[in-house]
Symmetry: C2
Subunit: 430 residues, 2 copies
């Protein structure tokens, strides 16, 4: 032990499996539990009455009794440079990019602007209980530096990358296949594996990269084992039609990425709405993951994600807020709308499954479940403290909730950032 | 003048027409305005710098500079007895009624329970800036008394009625055609037109009333000019199919209500999703109104309301939260999801139109626009004070919003009850 132990007391809840597979056995629930932390990592969890007597006398106790302690939320798709255009009116995907996204991203040529937004963004993630995110920066390498610096200061586990985009975009945001490759390579060398930071090769989406850039993006991903790749696929019908024109040789939109070597473990595709089962099977066999972004899919009128089919076929799935196409940094509000999207599909998202997806499911989709996502010994001690009495209505409704399942459902349907009483990163409150 | 005048200073915004028809001319906007109130009614509005010098020296000034002052929100469909089952898991309409609604409504046989819930319900409406609602009570006459008493204490303009339900429901919630008629008649005599309270004949929906009860509901509505009628129509596809079995003689679900004399001015139908244009035309020609309930329609997986078609044909439309099928008392959050429902339909809901629907549009759908809905002289002074800096994200985003339209859109997409700084009823803060 490097320091006195830290023990957090409260109602502990985490997952050891997907409740959609394992049912109630997937949950580990300690109504009065203790989470024992040493040097930012989890040593042990157990009932408070058993463990308290065994801990060294200098153990520091943080008391969250009356609150729920869950693993920190994992947001598998978000654009930090779109923080300031959240809630921009009136467009679907392609017009939205032109009208709002590209002008906003242009400002990230200024490193001071990037640093200021990155700082707010990381604080806002933490204020919402999100301790890990897979984030798009902009085409500017300094925008990646700014985000990693902000996350590093807060000791967060964060994955990000520089956007690759060399066609079908404004000149002021275009790189080239060669500069995009070289800049990404330099960023990987500078940031990947430094503290808790990881790099993601980030072609924005197939329409905005030339064949040459797509090839080099695949090469970056192949040349750097352990590096991630993030992009978008099959979000919007007009986008899908456009990709079919741009890549007539491909069987499908997803197939474009596969042809360029961009499917595999640690590749994460946002949206995945307009896929067929062949696409889904290719994601399973390659180890790629889907990011389900409900508030964005509703806000941009993109369509309805098919979670049951993804699960039946065994695709890895996490949840993304997709700010700024998404309308909230809150994972609770995002789960609310995930439930609604699936209701429109005639599918059911139980609260247990929802919180699994927001924690261990997200970690698995990012191949980070050896480090985060639940409270198993050895994991990094990132957690969120949820207040079940954050508003008059939640307090009242919670008093009438008989089961843990019902209480979790109330939190995801009625909760928001007010329910996040505290967020801890590597054991410490932020 | 009965009392010293009261003048409220702030950024005033209200509507004099539907922005979908009149464009910018529909908005009255005073960046630094004064709302002059005498004995609970609006006397005048105008720029503060013009009016301040003209007011009597004993005028009481309430200063809301930095905040937006809008007419109180009008919720055209809500179930007060479902307050405690908001966010109940996993069902679509018909199973949801059986599993959650009926057991919850059973408890309203106890007047003490009804009074306690009614009190919380009215407070929660006001906490969310809603000053008028059209509400379902339960089958128990005392449940109506409890709600009207709570609203009367708070001086609210509220419309409510006893549920009529004499088949396809548990025995413990059934009335009969005759008792339902007699009890409704007594409630009309006791409450309709008392203070600001108005009565609505309330057949739950066609499947739960016999032909005889449907006939008598139509008779109650015809016998009492000025009384309302509220029900549900075409919410869910299984429900529509069931109605077709129960009423094989009817052309459509809506036609059932028309056959029983239940369409007309001051009749309000919640949901109206699975209608055809003949139905919509019948609503126009009869003067009936639709209540669009987006959070409920998503939460219960019911379907997507067609606002553009309703508007093209000229149907009166208001917004309903539909708590407990809806997931929020907040009109702001309800407008957020209204926008999303319409995006999925390929339609656009501008912020101006959204706030129109939540205020004057709602008042028009209820034939109350001679009394509430905007700040015209003579109207009742119900208003909501919105804080554009309620959260760090809203504050930041608002600072980047250049136009009134954009600021309103930010409020409806990112706002919730935190944005409601204060609610005033008949001029006074509650």
């Amino acid at each position: 032990m490097t320091t006195p132990l830290h023990a957090v007391r409260g109602e502990l809840l985490h997952f050891t499996a997907d409740p959609a597979d394992a049912g109630a056995a997937a949950l580990a629930h300690l109504p009065d539990g203790l989470l024992v932390i040493d040097d930012g990592h989890i040593v042990e969890t157990g009932p408070a009455d058993t463990l308290l007597g065994k801990l060294p006398s200098d153990t520091r106790i943080t008391d969250y009794r009356g609150k729920l302690v869950l693993p920190g939320f994992v947001d598998t798709h978000i654009h930090y440079a779109q923080t300031d255009i959240i809630a921009s009116y009136g467009e679907q995907l392609l017009a939205w990019l032109e009208k709002y996204t590209f002008p906003a991203e242009r400002r990230f040529a200024d490193p001071a602007h990037a640093a200021e937004v990155a700082s707010f963004f990381c604080d806002e993630l933490l204020r919402n209980g999100t301790t890990t995110a897979l984030a798009f920066a902009t085409v500017h390498p300094a925008s990646v530096d700014a985000l990693f610096e902000a996350a590093q200061q807060r000791r967060m586990r964060l994955i990000a990358g520089k956007v690759l985009m060399d066609r079908n975009c404004p000149d002021f945001l275009a790189d080239t296949a060669q500069t995009g490759y070289a800049e990404s390579k330099a960023l990987i060398e500078r940031w990947h594996g430094r503290d808790r930071l990881l790099y993601a090769v980030t072609p924005r989406f197939a329409p905005t990269s030339t064949n040459e850039q797509m090839t080099l993006a695949g090469r970056l991903y192949a040349e750097h084992p352990g590096v991630y790749l993030q992009s978008h696929v099959a979000e919007n019908r007009a986008e899908v039609a456009w990709v079919a024109e741009l890549y007539p040789e491909a069987r499908s939109y997803l197939d474009v990425y596969e042809r360029y070597g961009q499917l595999g473990p640690r590749s994460v595709y946002a949206h995945c709405i307009w896929l067929d089962d062949t696409d889904r099977q290719r994601m399973v066999s390659s180890g790629a993951a889907m990011s389900f972004c409900p508030t964005s899919n509703l806000f941009l009128g993109s369509g309805l994600f098919d979670l049951d089919r993804a699960h039946e076929l065994g695709v890895r799935v996490g949840i993304g807020t997709d700010v700024g196409g998404g309308t909230s940094f809150s994972m609770l509000q995002t789960l609310n709308e995930a439930y609604k999207v699936l209701q429109l599909k005639g599918q059911h998202l139980s609260a247990e499954r929802a919180f699994y997806l927001a924690t261990l499911g997200g970690a698995r989709s990012l191949y980070l479940d050896d480090r985060i996502g639940n409270f198993e010994p050895g994991k990094e001690a990132d957690f969120v403290v949820l207040d079940p009495q954050a508003t008059p209505l939640i307090t009242r409704r919670m008093a009438r909730a008989d089961t843990l399942s019902e209480r979790l459902f109330v939190l995801m349907m009625l909760g928001d950032d007010r329910c996040v009483a505290r967020t801890h990163v590597l054991g410490e409150a932020v």
